[in-house]
């Protein structure tokens, strides 16, 4: 009984190794990329279009809309990163219906990797939006005293991201494995369906949190003048 697919190692040479996590990730990547490639090969710009194209359009515009609703002004800029996060996590949990499949998100290494990506992406987008100084100043908001707390929150939320996804995915697989040994009929199917649901929820949570973090990092500068303006008008009215 393996707690993580990292432990299933197919090939190893010193530091380099090929475990189930990496292999299944590659599999997912292939499915995603080849599927997209096949569907987007014959895109129609007319009123009539294929069902697959419709599906992809719904997914892409849905993600786009979600990002916009969170408060990011130019959603297409963040679409590649946030959309890929959602699609990868969602597909990873969706494929749990395939027997013998181990979701790569059930490995703490994968979720850590994704969390690190978010951890790096947030300051990158923030700096791109408001410059290095502007971004670093956001750690001093609302006062200088908050600086350590801001840094701690930055690290802890990354950790939380990684562990939350890992815990959920791993627990789903674990419960399924345990139930299979106790009640081999019906219950595993119900749990598997529940696992699909939690997988989708986790994918949504993971990507929406990443979006919120990025939005928080990029909004600092753009909201500040508005706040000042509001204060001014308030003082004037008084």
């Amino acid at each position: 009984m393996n707690l993580s697919p990292d432990n299933i190692i197919y090939w190893q040479m010193g530091f380099f190794k090929l475990n189930a996590t990496i292999v299944y990730t590659w599999g997912l990547m292939l499915v995603l990329v080849i599927g997209s490639k096949l569907i987007t090969r014959n895109l129609s710009t007319e009123q009539q279009r294929s069902r697959w194209q419709n599906l992809l359009e719904i997914i892409v515009t849905g993600i786009n809309q979600q990002i916009e609703e969170v408060g990011l002004k130019n959603p297409q800029k963040y679409l590649s990163f946030l959309g890929s996060l959602f699609l990868f996590v969602a597909m990873a949990s969706l494929f749990t219906v395939v027997p013998g499949y181990e979701p790569p998100t059930g490995s703490l290494s994968t979720t850590t990797a994704l969390a690190i990506c978010v951890f790096i992406a947030v300051p990158m987008f923030g700096i791109e939006q408001s410059g290095v100084g502007g971004y670093l100043r956001s750690y001093l908001q609302p006062t200088v005293i908050m600086l350590p707390f801001n840094i701690v929150s930055e690290i802890s939320r990354t950790l939380a991201l990684a562990v939350r996804l890992f815990g959920n995915m791993m627990s789903g697989t674990m419960i399924l494995a345990i139930l299979l040994t106790i009640t081999p009929f019906i219950f595993p199917i119900i749990m598997s369906a529940l696992g699909l649901l939690t997988g989708m929820v986790q994918a949504y949570i993971f990507s929406i949190l990443a979006t919120v973090y990025i939005a928080a990092a990029t909004r600092v500068r753009s909201t500040k003048p508005e706040g000042e303006a509001e204060n001014k008008t308030e003082s004037e009215s008084k």
Partner: protein
Amino acid sequence: MLIDWFTVIAQVINFLILVWLLKRFLYRPILDAIDAREKRIAAKIADAETKETEAQKQREEYQQKNEVFDQQRNAHMNEMQEAAKTERAQLLDAARQESEDLRGRLEQALRNEQQSLNEELGRRAREEVFAIARKVLSDLAGTSLEQRMTDIFLDSLHKLNKAQITELKSALKKSSDALRVRTAFQLSEKQSAAIETAVAEILGKQKPLEFIIVPDLVSGIEIISGGRKIAWSITDYLDSLANSVDDLLKNKTATEGAVAEKTAATTGQDVENNEH
């Protein structure tokens, strides 16, 4: 340790590759397609709006043109009607004038004919009357027409009342000319002498009478002096004869017209019968 750092690094790289690949194969084409479609729809809507405005404009233009055309047509119609009316009136006038002229000419011709007929009739009647009178007189009384005329003239001279005689006398005094006796025929010596005697009896001593023969006098005798005249002729009889002949002619013309109409009607009926 649950975290395998090599796997972490590998997964980071994997994820970055996935982001790039999906961006290349999924997001960009899909977004491009959506944008293209939206652009196309927007273009179509804009095009439709342009066409609609154009159509609206054209419709208004055509409506205006129609109105102008209607107005022009009405104006033309009115003009034509006016012209036709005028033309009709002119034509009617011309026709009326022509018919009146024609009628006038016909009447004139009729009158001329009637007159010449009258004259002819008068001439013939005169001749006939004279011939008959001459014959009758010579047969019954053994006297000539001329003799009888002279007698009657002398009678009428004797029958003149005093006022007439006075008038004649005063006329004679005023005039320097001789008393003239005009006759349609040659008087005999005896007749001339009788007339002279009668005149002398009535009017007193006179200058010798002057006898003139005028054939147009219609077989009469008249004495003329300074605008006064004592006459006898058969003109009066002839006038009454002419009047009666006129009446006869008029009646005849009326009857002929009626007959002509009747004939025309009958012919029409014949034609209809033929058609049947």
